[in-house]
Amino acid sequence: MNRWGEKAVYALSVISCMMLFGSVATLLCYLLIKGLPALNLGLIFGSTPVGDALLLKRQVFDGIFPAMAGTLALILLAITIAVPLGLLAGIYMAEYSGRFTRNVFGFLFDLLSGIPSIVVGLFGFSAILFLHHHVSEALVPSLLVSALSLAFLVLPYIVKTTQMALETVPRQTRVTGLALGATKLQNIVFCLIPESFSTILGGIILAVGRCAEDTAVIMLTGAVASAGLPNSLFKGFEALPFYIYYISSQYADQAELNQGFGACIVLLLICATLFILAAIIQRKVKHTLLYRH
């Protein structure tokens, strides 16, 4: 390769970096410029006094408070369902499964994590419609259905993180507990899980982020444009990403659009916070690993 060829390869690589970083930077700047003016307490609480809204004394109608609350409720529910299941499955995969089951299940979990989220949503949606027609008229797309579908969506992710975290525990640590006479279960509970806890926690936080941002699943399974604060598992609910989607297609005037930009920034902030939190937790692990030697 001559010098020009080399320079060309280098230049192309720099250009691709600039293209990617440039477009993402443009995206963020545009969002900030459009959204920052709308970013105030009014965006969140509308015309309702903050104290009253927080204490649930009065409904918020023209702010994104109900959507935020809806997203929060959704995350809590979905994670409460997904984490225990995911942890158990991960432990099973890492510690108990045989070679064959590990391969087959590993593939199925890969498949599951690759399923488009809209298909997961479609499944939740049709399952509840099926129940609605054949079991009880009271069963409609709702917070609970959304949470179940979302849990299903992030489940493979938690399973994989748990499995990887456990499998990468160094052999030394792995045998220490056993050498002291721990049973297999004791070893897992008292040695392996604490050892890999931070990695697992980081994975869970990323799963929370996924729940916070997902739109495709909830738009089929129960998210609605206006429902007020979530107060029942069996009713529709508002959620931040769905609100943004709704605004993008149905906005009536500039003020509503500005609110959409504001909501984007709020969502971005929530996701960024979760992401940085996960990164800090996982980095801390790396550091302890580095300095232990």
Partner: protein
């Protein structure tokens, strides 16, 4: 135990889709549905336009994203200095955390008008706009996958090139890239799967017209947006049932993509 439950659920989804999609097969031949036109008024429920729309958008976005991602990954793991690369890698990781809906939202209000004015026709909601946004959306994951595969190149090979006086570009072209062909293919295939399964960007930006696209500036509807749009229809209607076929098709393509990626990886391990 719970692993078992999860696996059963996967099979359940597929089973459910086939069962609910069955009436469609009763009315006309399966091939007609997959390749036929969409015209509910004439009792035609073919999803061919949606399949084509999906393929156009996801293939185009991967085509745009691939060179960009490869260049970024090459810069971060081989060509760039250590400090700059670490910062950039952190940024790329952060990018994976940006919600899809935000890409869609900014796409609608920033990119779509731009494309409309540049093209001089149409609404700006077209395959090109959707693919561009999608390309940026899938790039970070692709880059991280490439970097991971670049970092697995044995240190001793890199030392050998360094000690022989090879430049960074030479190291990249003669040693790293040839050693990572499999990783690069796997990463691209997986990103293709991701582009295929994305709903919101296409739903918000591609225009959603049911038609066989002829140019990049045409509006198109993907399988995923079709599901999202039609799910509001009547439960018993044929229109509604067609979305299960869409689901099944998506499911199958995803399965093929993941199986393919796994096979490539496995073959790499044997050698």
């Amino acid at each position: 135990m719970s692993a078992l439950v999860c696996c059963l659920l996967v099979l359940l989804i597929l089973g459910f889709m086939i069962v609910t999609g069955l009436p469609l097969f009763g009315q006309s031949q399966a091939m007609d549905l997959l390749t036929g036109a969409w015209s509910p008024r004439n009792n035609l429920y073919g999803i061919a336009p949606m399949i084509l729309g999906t393929l156009w958008i996801s293939l185009l976005s991967v085509t745009i994203s691939f060179p960009m991602s490869l260049g970024c990954a090459a810069y971060i793991s081989v060509l760039g200095g250590h400090k700059k690369a670490t910062v950039m890698k952190g940024c790329v990781q952060m990018m994976t955390g940006i919600p899809t809906i935000i890409y869609g939202f900014v796409g609608v209000f920033l990119l779509v008008p731009l494309i409309r004015e540049t093209a001089g026709r149409g609404s700006g909601m077209c395959i090109l706009s959707a693919s561009l946004v999608l390309a940026v959306l899938i790039a970070p994951t692709m880059i991280l996958f490439f970097i991971q595969s670049f970092d697995r190149v044995p240190r001793s090979w890199l030392d050998a090139v360094d000690a022989l006086g090879g430049s960074r570009v030479q190291k990249l072209v003669y040693v790293v890239l040839p050693a990572c062909v499999k990783g690069i293919v796997t990463g691209t295939v997986l990103s293709f799967g991701r582009a295929l399964g994305d709903t919101l960007v296409a739903l918000m930006i591609a225009g959603n017209a049911v038609q066989t696209p002829n140019s990049l500036l045409d509006s198109a509807r993907t399988l995923t947006s079709h599901i999202a749009l039609v799910s509001a229809a009547d439960f018993e209607s044929m229109e509604f049932k067609s979305i299960f076929l869409c689901g099944a098709v998506l499911y199958l393509i995803t399965a093929v993509v993941i199986l393919g990626a796994r096979l490539i990886e496995k073959r790499g391990n044997h050698e």
